[in-house]
Amino acid sequence: MKRISDYLRHPRGHRVVVALMATTVIVAGACGSEGNDASQDPADGDSTEGAEVVLVTYDSFALPEGAAEAFEAESGATIKVVAAGDSGAMLAGSLLTAGSPDGDVIFGIDNTTATEVLDEGLLEPYEAVGLDGVREGVALDSELGSLLTPIDTGDVCVNVDTQWFAENPDLDPPATFEQLASKEYASLLVVENPVNSSPGMAFMLGTIDEFGEDGWLDYWGELKTHGVKVAPSWDDAYYNDYSVSGGDRPIVVSYASSPPAEVVFSEGERTEPASEVALDTCVAQVEYAGVLAGAANPELGRELIDFMLAEDWQSALPEANFVYPVTEVDLPESFVQWAPRPESPIIVDAVVAGENRNAWIEQWREVME
């Protein structure tokens, strides 16, 4: 009988296995270090020349090109965008890799999920230059406020297909939450799943604000009875189900800024928006940025956050991402004309949302799935 000692005495005997393992270790090592080189090279480069600041954000974020170039001219660093799925996936994924992040700055955390950053030590505190120029009511308090810098706001509102309602004159477009659940609008509404989608979450929080903790689940029960469609994402809802994009539902949960987006994205085909906004169904969303703990380039990250509050970036944001700036800059013509800000949107308190979100999601899923 041979024992381990025999293998030791005849090391050539398991040469194949050793070779295999050695190869594996070398290849794996090479791959590993290659990956690291790619992300860390710029940091090792001298000062900021050729440096790169990595911005982790959600898929649909569009970098305002002109402003990005201005940042590069000013700081000498290029902005590399890493897309991380929708905003929920981005935050959850980043939490799982907290302390060993995929980038320097994370942007796109909103007030409905902001409290999650308190766990796991995801962010480094930073007080941005220019924070005092931010509109009242968007900055967060205490510890949250020290971690998250407000960059833009948006309003999640019900949008309706104006042409569809013109062709069906016996039905008026819905104006309130209440009306949406009524029988007349059966099978006309598509919303997003609050588990996956941030507008979906905002809309759900809006219904809780509107009907209270005792009434909101009944409201969703009504919506379900009357054939509401729950799409997995905003993209699905807007591009597949909404009648403006060829779907069969003329009412969709989208943004107050969707009408100007329809005009701008049509590249001249549309001179008027296809949608109207039900301004009484709006829920305010604030999007924040923060410096990721363990970032390769925290200094550049802080610089980028400062720049996001500067005029170049703020005034480029509306037509790049169809959001409102948080500082006092002029709005583009398309916004002035087609995206009136709702007068009194529902404001979701980040702390209240944080404390209750999981329980509310469970309750929502219990009713809707």
């Binding site: 005997g13 194949v16 290849v27 997995p232 219990e366």
Partner: protein, 543 residues
Amino acid sequence: MDRAVARSHGVGRSGGANIIAVFVVVLAVALPLLAVLIRSFWIDGSFTTESISRILGSSRTWRILALTVGQAVASSVLTLAVGLPVAWILSRFRFPGRKLVQTAAMVPFVLPSVVIGVAFATILGPRGVVDLRGTWWAIFAAHVCFNLAVVLRVVGSAFSSVDSSLEESAMLLGASRLRTLRHITMPTVAPAIHSAAVIIFLYSLTSFGVIVLLGGGAVTTIEVEIWTRATRQFDLSGAAVLAGVQALTVVIVLSFRSPVGRPRSARSAISRAHIPGSAKQWAAVSAAILAVFMISVLPLLAILERSLLVGEGYSLAHWRSVGSATEGTGLRISPTAAILASLRAAIPASFLALALGIPAARAVAYKPNGFGSRVLLLPLAISATTVGLGLLLLSTRGPVDLRSSSVLVVLAQTLVALPVVVRSVAPAIRSLPPALGEAAELAGAPAGLIWRKIEFPLIRAAVMASAGLAVVIALGEFGATVFVARLGEPTMPVAIERLMSRPGQAGIGQAMVLACLLGLVCSVIIWVIDWAAGSSSGVSLGE
């Protein structure tokens, strides 16, 4: 008995290093599961049953479990309903192109689940023939496509081994066709049907990629729920409890698995298969060909067609743009980068799986019912999402932070490929004539030399085949990889899912190109294995 004695002697010959390999394999598989269990009970450093009672106390959990099991049953029944007649026809009749039809039906089985998901999303999706996305029907269709091969392979060979002279005698003696079927044919093929049903049930129970792509967020199973909780709801503990529920369910199912032997060879049957004689028989053959074409070929052709579809016309634009990330796809890396990321992970993962799997297979080969073999069955009970979740949990608390490198992806793919390597190499080792090694040993050859000069050359074909299988599995791995892949370095399946999750955007074309390439590479590897090993090794994933 003598053979058994001789073989158990072989274990001693293969020595302690192999036992260590078994230990390493078990540890590698058990650690992620352990991490999941720990996370279920410990939150922020203290013991609690809060997560357990929260998840197990929710009626929704039980509803999802029921749905998961129910859809697996339905998938098995539907696959058998479609597969049995096709298997019977293909085993009874000889016709030109029969081999081709059999091969075509095998292809989907070796393809990554993400590719099958993409295929059905194009046909049964928003821009397909009918929009069934978000319904169980789309998922059933994909499961039937994926598992048809299991029925054809496992039950088909059983059909072939039915003694047709017995059937003929029964009918001559006046038994009706139905009676003959019930009393002669069925008893022979019943064990094979049972075996096929259990295999399909298990695959469907742990199905993930297909459901993520076709479920549209509306269809949930335990696997998908684990993913949703871990990556969407910030609920790792809940995900961990569900992973435990999932593992337990699979263990229970496995314990019902009957000890069916290997399917008997179909070789003798070829002579018994005859050319269709009547118009009715030709119609049956045509129906079988049509079924295989519709289920196994058409969905894959749809991917190719969609990869060429640009706007309203056809062009190679998507194929030409593989080197660049398309604006507005959400994914900011090019398909080429995803391909490279896949190769960088799959190649080392396959080597690792072989390096660990072969010694482990040697240790357990001679005792197929021994403790070691049973332990190596364990990975079957652990779904890919559990492996991914476990690795992630381990790495957040581990001594070395592996999360910033791509090592976790390599480990995830290794763990998923390992059981397949062991299970495909062990039979080859078992079939070695023990006398060979014993003679060499008596002549004084050291164990290493015996392995290198005698045993390895004899099982080289099996090792090569399992290497190919490992590469195919690693390349297509989605359920575990999706948890641990870095954002900037998605593998092909991960990139495909990301691109597919954004309808109405430019990324669909690129997803189709990636799915085509992934499908093609996997098919070619499997084809080469099959070709090199004759038809004997075949496709034996998970059997």
